[in-house]
């Protein structure tokens, strides 16, 4: 089983690297969207799947990353290579500013606070049209990557590289003592405390990490899409990201990847209006929650026991 999976991963990796050589520009664009969703999903999964914190504002953080990166390139004149990490850091700070006061909350109340944060961000985007372009959105010119004009190929490999790094980072975090702390806090706060794991600081860290991934994804979005439409970062966008991780598998980096890939491709294949894709997303999400809460990866490990035993989440 292990050999099959490794083989599959290797094939996929080769396909990803070779894509610009024989793929259409539409396929390349689609792949880049998938990569962006993977990055966002990994961050959210660490926060929600591993640490058990519900966040309804992940899309807002992604928007913040997108706007910040965009403004840093267009207004401040940074190169994209500098604007991207800077935008990520700004998003992380803003995520911390929410995560710090919210560190004592969980469950429903946390969900509500993140919802409030999302609404506040939406209002802020509308109220500062000089910065954000308001409801009409923000259009950007093609950024340059440290002097190189971003051709299709260069941009693609850049996004692929950042995504690969994000997967690597997420995988490392999950297997580290921090990943264990996240899982501990999620499963039992009392036991975590008995082992000297500080629950609030752990939750805050998870929040910051999620914000960092979201900001990174947003910054990539800026370069790939070239236009930021604020209505694309509303509650249903956050829900879509939650669908990625719920369907893919909570608490697993592989689950984030699988979920993002499958659920980004799906509406493209359906090729219908947004409403149809919403119905399908909603139905898949609801179906998963009710029938298969462990998601794709979780259910597979349960069935095949390929890690040796049915556990989905740890080292």
């Amino acid at each position: 089983m292990r050999a099959v999976t490794n083989g599959a991963i290797a094939t996929l990796a080769v396909a990803c690297v070779a894509l610009p050589l024989f793929g259409s520009s539409y396929q390349i664009y689609l792949a880049e969207l998938i990569f962006i969703n993977i990055v966002a999903a990994i961050g959210l999964n660490l926060l929600t799947g591993n640490c058990g914190q519900i966040s309804l504002c992940h899309a807002s953080l992604m928007a913040i990353g997108a706007y910040t990166t965009a403004l840093l390139t267009t207004r401040v004149g940074l190169t994209y290579a500098a604007a991207l990490p800077a935008g990520t850091m700004v998003t992380t700070l803003l995520g911390a500013s929410l995560g710090y006061p919210a560190r004592r909350l969980s469950g429903l109340y946390l969900a509500l606070v993140t919802l409030g944060f999302l609404e506040v961000v939406s209002i802020a985007i509308e109220e500062f049209p000089e910065l954000t372009g308001g409801v009409r959105g923000l259009k950007l010119e093609q950024p340059e990557l440290a002097g190189w004009p971003l051709s299709i190929g260069v941009l693609y490999y850049f996004v692929l590289g950042v995504t690969a790094f994000a997967i690597y980072a997420g995988w490392n975090i999950q297997r580290s003592r921090f990943g264990r702390a996240f899982n501990a806090v999620r499963q039992s706060v009392i036991v975590a405390q008995a082992l000297a794991i500080p629950p609030e600081r752990t939750k805050l860290l998870a929040f910051c990490i999620a914000a960092a991934f979201a900001g990174l994804a947003g910054g990539l979005f800026t370069a790939v899409v070239g236009f930021i439409d604020p209505t694309e970062f509303d509650v249903s966008a956050s829900l879509r990201q939650i669908t990625f991780i719920a369907v893919g598998g909570l608490g697993s980096v592989l689950g984030s990847v699988v979920g993002a890939v499958v659920l980004t491709l799906l509406p493209e294949m359906l090729r219908g209006a947004k409403e149809y894709s919403d119905v399908v997303y909603g139905a898949i999400l609801l179906g998963t929650l009710v029938l298969a809460p462990k998601g794709i990866v979780g259910s597979l490990t349960l069935l095949s026991g390929w890690t040796g035993h049915p556990k989905a989440r740890s080292s």
Partner: protein, 257 residues
Amino acid sequence: MSLLTLDGVSVSFGGVAAVRGVTMRVEAGEIRGLIGPNGAGKTSLINVITGIVRPDGGAIRFADRDITALAPDVIAARGVGRTFQHVELFREGTVLDNVLTGLHRHHVYGIAAAVGGFGRARHVEGEARREALALLQVFDLATLAAAAVSDLPFGVQKRVDLARALAARPRMLLLDEPISGMSETEADAAVAAIRSLASERAITLMIVEHNMRVMMRLAARITVMHEGGILAEGTPAEIRDDPKVVDAYLGERDEDA
């Protein structure tokens, strides 16, 4: 100076006093038993000491520092560990995951190192794994390292709980019914293990148990609780012969006594 001092500690829940003015001292290196009929307040007392519940009155000192109002994770960091009556393992993990989590405080590296995945993080993780496996060896769990805890029988889970608590390197360990649910042979093995651990690692123990046979063999001194207060304190022989204690137990319907 005693390792653990309780001074007039009281806790009430919704108007019912679970712990009433408990004053006691536990010396370093002791194995102290804590017994009492159901509802005497033993688990509440453990919860107060470990900081899960804040006392309404009184003070608690550990290693000569006040821990009365501290957060549970801070108290644990000071060296107070515990096991749980109903085990409470991380059910979605393996045996190794659980014990590794116990080592959280002792094999440290920062988030940046964790993200990078090599260098310091890898080195420290290796050390952590070695210590965890060594601990599993002590408890005869090494072959089960990769087993999912939810599959394990209750007695084995209790061993994992103990191993995990020990991974945190506590100075004092509060064991909440460590033997309950075990078979005779398991219980005997557990008693031997607990005793040797206490002496080898210089850990002070406070054990809550209903199994009198085990308690008499393990504990050097026993504290008897009744209706939230301390009824008696002394050696196992003294306690066994104390009329107050006999009354309290005969007055309740307690099968294990």
